[in-house]
Symmetry: C2
Subunit: 523 residues, 2 copies
C-alpha cells in the first residue's frame, strides 16, 4: 500500500469523525449559511433602457389615462397635492407630481417584527420570503380534501411560520370562513396572526370599521398608541385598486385609516394579465407600476413619507380558460421584472411568487414553486409574498406545505447568496496541497470541515439518502413526513408572548373568537 | 344595464369563442412561445472581476500544479504542443499554451441532429436542455421500486425524448445492466440511442475497443465515413479526468479515438465539492475550469480545432455524509457560474443541472429540479445535461419523470425567453382603449387573443384546474397521468428512421442486443 493510499484512509477517517462531531453541535447564528435579507439582484430580466421605457409608459398612463372611481376624500387629498380630476371623473397624476412623490417617499426603513430579531430591511436587492393570500380553503392532505378555512387554521399557520427559519414574515394567507361579520373577522385575523408569531405580520381589513377596531386593538395590545407607533409590526395588505386603473372604495377608506394610524400599507395592485391587465407581460408590468405609483401619490398626499410597500403583483391568466395561473413561468418573469422596477425607484418592493397551480404538494407544485421563488429571489425582490404554503393559484392553503416550502426556500436562498470569490475561496493553495502533498482528495481537509455548515444548506425534511438507504428506511413519503412534522409543531410550539392577563383584557374589549384553550400546550 | 356592462358581456363572449377556436388549431412553429436555443444570460452569479479571478487561478493551477497520470500518448501530443512533463510525472500547461488553445478552439459551430431540424448551436448564451447520466437503475413508479436498467429502457427513453418538445438532445441517461461486455455495451448504447431519437445523441464508450467499434458502426449507419464526418450527430461524453487534476487512462484512450474519428467530445470534469473538488464553491469552479482547459489543450494537441464541449460539471457533496447532492441550491450556483466561465471563453459550455436528490417525482424532486434548471437556464448554460428524468443524485432514472420534467422545462424556458419590451408590448394604447373606451377588461381584446399562444406556455400534464374542477375530474394524480402518458408514447411512437434493411445489415456486422421486435408498433 503506497503512501498516498495510507494518507487517504487516515484522512478520511479523521474527516468523518470530525464531521460527525461538528454535525452534533448547534449551528451558531453567525455561521448560518442563509439568513433573512440576503442580497439578490444578479438576475436582471430587463435592460436598463427597458426599465426606463416601462417607467415612461407608466408616467404617461398616470397623466393621460388616470384612475377612475376615486372616493371624495381621495380626490380631495390628491388634487390638493397636484393631481387633476377630469370631466370624465378620472383622477390624473401629472408627471412632476409623481416624480416628486417618488423622490420623497418612505424608503430604506425597517418593517418591524414583534421581536427585534425579526425586523426586516426591505431595501435595495435584499430578499425576504413569507406567506400571504386570502385562501378560503385549507388542504387536508390526510383526507385528500379541500375544506373551509377557520380562524384556528390561521393561528396554527402563524405558529408554524414562527418555527420556520426561511419564512421571514407572516402575511395572513387565508380567510377564516367561520367568522361572518367583516369587522369581527378583521380583528380576529389580526389577533390570530400576532398571537401565533412574533415575525412581521401583514393583515387585511375588509371594512373601515375593521381597520379602526384593529388599530384600537393594537394600541391596547402594545400598551399605548405611542408604543404601537414606535414599532408598527403589522402592515396592511391593501387592494386599493381594481385593475385596470380604478380605485377600490372600501380599500381606500381602510388605506386612509391605516396611513393615519401609522400602519405601513402594502399597495397591492393585482391585475391579471389578459383579463384585468394587458396580455403583454411588459404591459402588465406597466399597468401595475402605474397603479402602485398612483397609490404612492395617494398615501403621500394623506401623510408625506408614510410607510408604503410598492406592491406590484401582476398575475397571469391561462388564456385558454381565463383562469389565473400562479405557478407559470410567466408569473416568475412578472415578479422579477417588478423587483427591478422597485429597485429603479429605490422603493421597498413586494410581489407574489411561489404560489402554484397544483392542488397538492406534488411534483408540479414543487417545480412551479421552485422556479418562481428562485426567479424572484435572484432578481432581488424585497418581499416575496405567497411564497410559502399556497396552492391552486391562491384558492387553497396548506399548512403541511409550509414545512416543505421552508426547505425549498432554504435552497433558493443559497442561490440568492451566491458564490463568494476571494483569495481563499478560489482555493489554489488547497488544490496544490491536496494534489501535490496528498491525500488526493478533500474529504478530511480542514477547509472542508470549516465550510460544512457555513457554505452548505441542509434540508430538514428533504431526503438525500441513496436508493438503498431509502429502501432500508421504508421508502418514507415526503408528504407524510410533513404531516407528522406539522402535528409535532402544533402540539408543542406555543409562542407564549401573549400573557394570560393581556389575553383576558383583550377578550373583554374585543370580539375575539379564537378560544384561549387552543393557545396553550395543556389544552 | 349600462353600456359598459353590455360591452362587457359581448366582449367576453366573443373572446371566449375566439379563444376556443384558436386553441383547437395546431400551433404553428413560428409562433411557439418557447423553442430550443433561446438566449439566457440575464442572470450573472459572478461579477466580471470574479470571472477573471477564477480564470487566473485556473491558469495558475494548470501551470503550477498540472495534471497527474497522463498516458504516454497524451504526454507525447501535449508536450509537442508546449506542455511540460515534470519530474513528479505531472503534465503542466503553460499559460501561453492555454491561452493560445482557447483562442483557436472550436466554437460557434452546430451540434448536429440526425434530422436538421434538431441541429443545435451551443454558443453565447443560447440554452438547450437534455438528458444525461449513467444511472444503473430505473424507477418503476407503479411498484414504487428501483430496478436494474436495461438496454430496452435506454431505447424507450430515447423514444420518449424524441416526443418531448423541451428535450433538445438525448445524452444516454442510463447504463444497461443486461449487457456485460464493455465494448458490446458501448455499441448497443449507441444504437439504442440513435434508433430511438433523431435528436443529437451523447453517448459513452467504456473502452477504446467500444469507441472503435462505435465509429465503424456509425460509418455503416451513415453509409460512409464521409457521410458521418459531414454531420456528426453523436458526441462522446468523456470523463477524461479523475478529479482532482488527474487524467483517466481508458477515457483518454477513448478521447483520442473520438477526436481523430470526427466525433465531438464533451470534456467532462465531474469533481464533487468537498470530496474530489475543493469545498469552496469558487474553488470547485476553478478546478473544473482548469481540468477542462487541460482537456481542451489535449484535444487541440491531437487535432487543432476539433469539436469539444467545455464540460465543467462540478457536483456538490452533502458534507454531513460525503454523499453527492445533485438537487441542492449549491449545485445550481455551480452550474450557473460555469455557464459564465464558458461564455467568458466563448466556448460551448455544458453542465449538469436538474437532477434531484429525491428518489421519486415528488414535491422535493419538483423544487430541486425547478430551482436548478431555472438557475442554469437564466445564466445561459448552453447545454443543460441531466435536466430531464434524473433522480437520486444520478443513481436512478425515471421515464415517467421525463414527461413531467418536459412540462417543467417549458416553464423554465418561458423565463429564459424573458420579457419583450417594445412600443406595442408596453401597451399604453391598449390600456387607454380598455380604460377610456371600454369594456374595462382585456378578455376579449384582440391583443389578448393574438398573444394566447405566442406569449404563454401551457403545460401538457400540469393541472391548472380549480379545486372544484379538480374534484369533479376525480382528483387526478400527476404521477399516474405521467405513467399513462409514458405507456401511450411507448405503445405508439416508433420513430421509423432506421429501415428494416439497414437494421438487418447492422445486426449482421455488430453484436446488437435490442430485439428488432421491440422497435415496431406491431411487436
Amino acid at each position: 500500500m503506497g503512501q498516498a493510499e495510507v494518507g487517504n484512509k487516515t484522512g478520511r477517517r479523521r474527516g468523518r469523525a470530525a464531521r460527525m462531531a461538528a454535525r452534533a453541535a448547534p449551528l451558531a447564528e453567525d455561521i448560518r449559511p442563509v439568513r433573512p435579507g440576503l442580497h439578490g439582484g444578479r438576475y436582471r430580466p430587463l435592460l436598463e433602457q427597458e426599465v426606463k421605457r416601462i417607467h415612461r409608459a407608466a408616467l404617461d398612463a398616470l397623466q393621460q389615462i388616470g384612475l377612475g372611481q376615486a372616493i371624495p376624500s381621495c380626490v380631495d387629498v390628491c388634487t390638493a397635492a397636484g393631481a387633476e380630476i377630469g370631466e370624465d371623473g378620472r383622477l390624473r397624476f401629472p408627471q412632476a407630481l409623481v416624480e416628486d412623490v417618488i423622490a420623497k417617499a418612505w424608503r430604506r426603513q425597517p418593517l418591524y417584527g414583534q421581536q427585534e430579531k425579526h425586523d426586516m430591511l426591505p431595501a435595495g436587492d435584499r430578499v425576504y420570503y413569507g406567506t400571504a393570500g386570502a385562501a378560503t380553503q385549507v388542504i387536508d392532505l390526510e383526507n385528500n380534501n379541500y375544506r373551509d378555512a377557520t380562524i384556528r387554521d390561521l393561528y396554527d399557520s402563524a405558529r408554524i411560520a414562527e418555527t420556520l427559519d426561511n419564512c421571514h414574515f407572516f402575511q395572513r394567507p387565508l380567510t377564516a370562513c367561520d367568522i361572518e361579520d367583516s369587522a369581527t373577522l378583521d380583528v380576529n385575523t389580526l389577533y390570530a396572526s400576532i398571537a401565533g408569531t412574533t415575525k412581521h405580520v401583514g393583515t387585511n381589513f375588509n371594512v373601515p370599521e375593521g381597520a379602526e377596531m384593529g388599530l384600537r386593538f393594537l394600541h391596547r395590545y402594545c400598551g399605548s398608541e405611542e408604543a404601537w407607533r414606535a414599532r408598527p409590526f403589522v402592515s396592511n395588505s391593501n387592494c386599493f385598486v381594481v385593475p385596470p386603473m380604478k380605485f377600490a372604495e372600501d380599500a381606500c377608506r381602510v388605506l386612509e385609516i391605516c396611513v393615519r394610524g401609522g400602519m405601513p400599507v402594502l399597495l397591492l395592485s393585482a391585475g391579471q394579465a389578459g383579463a384585468t391587465a394587458p396580455p403583454y407581460l411588459a404591459g402588465a408590468v406597466v399597468q401595475a407600476v402605474a397603479e402602485c405609483l398612483a397609490g404612492l401619490c395617494y398615501v403621500n398626499a394623506i401623510k408625506p413619507g408614510a410607510p408604503a410597500i410598492f406592491g406590484t403583483w401582476p398575475f397571469v391568466s391561462d388564456l385558454r380558460t381565463g383562469a389565473m395561473s400562479g405557478g407559470s413561468g410567466e408569473q416568475g418573469l412578472l415578479a422579477a421584472a417588478c423587483a427591478q422596477m422597485a429597485q429603479f425607484y429605490d422603493l421597498p418592493g413586494g410581489g407574489a411568487s411561489g404560489m402554484c397551480d397544483s392542488k397538492l404538494p406534488d411534483n408540479q407544485a414543487g417545480y412551479e414553486k421552485g422556479i418562481n421563488t428562485a426567479v424572484a429571489g435572484l432578481a432581488g425582490l424585497n418581499l416575496v409574498y405567497e411564497s410559502i404554503g399556497m396552492h391552486a393559484s391562491l384558492l387553497g392553503f396548506c399548512l403541511d406545505s409550509m414545512i416543505i416550502d421552508d426547505d425549498m426556500i432554504g435552497q433558493v436562498l443559497r442561490c440568492v447568496r451566491g458564490i463568494e470569490v476571494t483569495e481563499d475561496s478560489v482555493s489554489l493553495e488547497v488544490i496544490r496541497q491536496v494534489c501535490l502533498e496528498g491525500p488526493g482528495h478533500y474529504l478530511g481537509h480542514e477547509a472542508t470541515l470549516s465550510l460544512m455548515q457555513r457554505e452548505y444548506v441542509y434540508p430538514v425534511l428533504g431526503d438525500r439518502s441513496s436508493p438503498k438507504e431509502w429502501v432500508e428506511k421504508g421508502k418514507q413519503d415526503l408528504v407524510r413526513r410533513a404531516i407528522a412534522r406539522r402535528k409535532e409543531v402544533l402540539a408543542n410550539h406555543f409562542p407564549g408572548h401573549v400573557s394570560d392577563r393581556l389575553d383576558v383584557a383583550l377578550r373583554r374589549a374585543f370580539p375575539l373568537m379564537l378560544p384561549r384553550s387552543v393557545m396553550r400546550a395543556d389544552a
